[in-house]
Symmetry: C2
Subunit: 209 residues, 2 copies
Amino acid sequence: MRESQAAEPRPYHHGDLRRALVDAARRLLENEGPSALSLRAVAREAGVSPAAPYHHFKDKGELLDAVAHEGWLMLDQAMAAAKAAAEGPAKLTAIGLSYVCFARDNPALYRVMYDAARDKEALPMETKDGEDSAYCKVRNTMVELGADPGMETDLELATIAAWCGAHGLAEMAGFRQFDHLKQALGGEEPFLRAVLNHLGLFPGTRPAC
Amino acid sequence: MRESQAAEPRPYHHGDLRRALVDAARRLLENEGPSALSLRAVAREAGVSPAAPYHHFKDKGELLDAVAHEGWLMLDQAMAAAKAAAEGPAKLTAIGLSYVCFARDNPALYRVMYDAARDKEALPMETKDGEDSAYCKVRNTMVELGADPGMETDLELATIAAWCGAHGLAEMAGFRQFDHLKQALGGEEPFLRAVLNHLGLFPGTRPAC
DNA sequence: TTCTTATTTGAACACCGCTAAGATAGCGGC
DNA sequence: GCCGCTATCTTAGCGGTGTTCAAATAAGAA
């Protein structure tokens, strides 16, 4: 591993500037926040001129897309790990909790991920390897927990509802106005679990009206 | 009312540039989208120099705060109207639907509203008139529908869960990947209603596990 | 070696948020 | 009426941004 990982897209001068730019962007994002993520700053961080990135990305948005893609991969992994670590119906809550915790621990990256999704007007539905996306993992878990895969619309609706709840909670969990409630419940994780339990996560268990 | 509403902040040269700037910003937001909402563009739209806004707003963020504030007032009104038009338990779904429709019809404004909220790390909890905010309206509705106001944490959790679900749906409802589901359900509004019904909106009705 | 092509640079353009200095216009006191 | 006074607005400018383009450079092919 002489120059980190390279050799796949046939680097010329730099080694693998595309890779280096995405890494620099993630570094900036973590250290300085999303407002510091200018294309020029990324180039500076990677040690190249402001015009260099344009030979690897059409524009700034495409670089952000690449960053977002890595974010979705990380989220996938976190959710898969949480699912594997839990048993039975607790799997769903565990997945939701891992989702919200990922957003809490990577707020800038999470923002970039959803900005990209809004631009495309779609959530990523499959990873590069053809594997199921995080969204599909939630749906699969629903089926494993007893949702009828024949009732496709109901299954899809339950998945969407769960995803919406988790995303909303991820965006709102940091708001200060909930601090007293977290304290009353004994910490942040109990608070998150409590809200998740209030959401109608399980298919077929919603109130009839 | 000679020059629209004025006389409160004692305008000098322009009449009421502050008001005009917020209006110009809302006009730009609606016509050109959030990315076109630069402070200079707002000044241009209002017919003043790029430096003029700084005598009425500390910086760009403060102007956006003013725009966001008007957005929250509009959302308040929409939710209040929806609540008044529905009866019984349908009130909650009606409120949720009005929330999501507001976001759909004013996507750029909705974005500005939540950007401001994230900066402050809080949702607006009361309007200028001391009236209850949209968030409080949801909680009040929960009580009217039978939630026990004595169980304060449970009431709060239910309110948060409902708000999270509505916000998540508002952000996700426009994604193209749900088009086929909307079609299967007979349109967008049935789709929104279906997702809202899948969310655990009502306090005390969540599954026991 | 020479040719070709991918990569990177440096300079430039238009736009951005923001600041400072000066011009302008409405107000209160005389 | 006139005179400050102060709020308002403009002009000019700073450093930063995304993006383009011609020139320079370096790697591989012939």
